[in-house]
């Protein structure tokens, strides 16, 4: 079974530039998550999709972050414009169902450095 795929693995941009991350979840997983993990901290949920609908985006900084999941499969997360404090690893995860009772499968993450 293929795991969660993410690209790119690394990205370096200057502040005020824009960046996009891509995620392909495990086939058949209805729920997709984007997390932000700052060095030394645990992952923090940014947005959760159930199929192609948003379930929770309460912690997404909507003035600069946006995400979409077209056709309920792949997803993209965009930051525009980036700030220095956005430097982090962005993790995509998927699960069979939306309840937290189901284990989540994480991708390798995208390490973003904003200079």
């Amino acid at each position: 079974e293929a795991g969660v795929a993410q690209s790119p693995r690394y990205k370096i941009i200057e502040k005020r530039q824009s960046v996009a991350f891509w995620c392909n979840p495990i086939s058949g997983h209805a729920t997709l998550y984007w997390y932000q993990q700052i060095l030394g901290q645990g992952p923090k949920l940014l947005i959760q999709f159930q199929n192609n609908g948003v379930v929770d985006d309460s912690q997404l900084p909507k003035d600069r972050f946006s995400a979409e999941r077209l056709k309920g499969v792949d997803s993209t997360l965009k930051i525009q414009p980036a700030k220095l404090e956005d430097s982090a690893v962005y993790l995509c995860a998927s699960s069979l169902e939306e309840s937290g009772r189901y284990e989540q499968y994480f991708g390798p993450g995208t390490r973003l450095t904003v200079t």
Partner: protein
């Protein structure tokens, strides 16, 4: 406010000994709790889920306990090996039934010394 605390940032244990990691949460009562392992440069990997009506759960050399009175979960690795070196994250979810969202602690970085 709701908080999750893992006992220490780093823990060094001699190979063969039992490693015990602590996860404390305050101001909420999750019905279950998950534990994940994260290696450098990789995403977390699910290890175990324990429910509030389960005092203890085991998987090979791993054992997790869940004390809802103390609001604490303990994660044990017996007969530890250098390959067990990683960061371990506890994740007690927040939210109502059917709307739970995993919330991760900061993690404990475990090093098993040969």
């Amino acid at each position: 406010s709701q908080k999750i605390e893992q006992n220490s940032e780093a823990l060094n244990i001699q190979e063969g000994k039992t490693a015990t990691l602590t996860c404390n949460y305050t101001n909420y009562s999750p019905a279950y709790l998950q534990w994940y392992r994260q290696d450098p440069g990789r995403g977390p990997v699910f290890l175990l889920l324990i429910r509030e009506n389960e005092k203890e759960k085991r998987k090979e050399r791993l054992k997790v306990t869940f004390d809802t009175t103390l609001k604490q979960s303990l994660f044990h690795i017996t007969a530890s090996q250098p390959a067990d070196s990683a960061t371990y994250l506890c994740a007690p979810p927040r939210g109502g039934f059917g709307n739970e969202k995993l919330t991760f602690g900061t993690g404990t970085r475990l090093t098993i010394i040969p």
